[in-house]
Amino acid sequence: MSPFDGVSPEQFIADFMTSFTDEIVRGEEDPGPIVDRYYTPDMIQIADGVRIDRDKLIAHIRPVRKNLTHYRLEVHEALASGNRIAARFTLHGQMRKKAVATEVHFFGELAADGRMSRAHQLTRALPTGQGGQGGQPAPGKEEA
């Protein structure tokens, strides 16, 4: 059974990224269980050459919670084959009161239960206006 059954690749990656980010910034739940709902324990993500394992991803949640106040995901295209997915999307956000936009070229591999086990991505920053609002308010965050 494919983890994409009944869901388009575009919708899958949009739902995955948006839901994970929502859970990170929404509340004060321990980051470990959040990561474990979306990634397998042996997950590895290579982002712009930087290797991120479960411990590093968990450590990254604290600063994201503090710094990210708005975000919006725009999926440009996505393809799926077997348990793998490739997607190109832009993450619009507001971090430390500055608008940021990052285009992401993403390859991922999913476990049978739909969790991400491997991801490899290259990113590039897109120009934005300083101080603008880069996305929707994060749940539980007040307007900056």
Binding site: A47, G49, V50, L57, P63, M95, T102
Partner: protein
């Protein structure tokens, strides 16, 4: 001229490096900050000896954690 190295956890990308650099540069006496995201090592150059607690406070203000000073 003094140079100190610290280890910061939670950094995974250029945005992270930028936030940590921005806050440490505010510490009095700091003249340069270099970040290696992969290892988490932050090298701080200053014109005086720095109080590690000032650097820790700057790192925490950026949202990250200083794990070794």
């Amino acid at each position: 001229m003094s140079q100190s190295t610290y280890t910061v956890s939670g950094m995974v990308c250029g945005h992270c490096a930028g936030f940590v650099t921005e806050e440490i540069e505010r510490v009095a006496g700091v003249t340069a900050v270099a970040v290696d995201v992969e290892s988490g090592v932050v090298t701080v150059t200053s014109d005086r000896d720095l109080d590690a607690e000032d650097v820790r406070a700057a790192v925490e203000e950026a949202g990250y954690e200083l794990v070794r000073a």
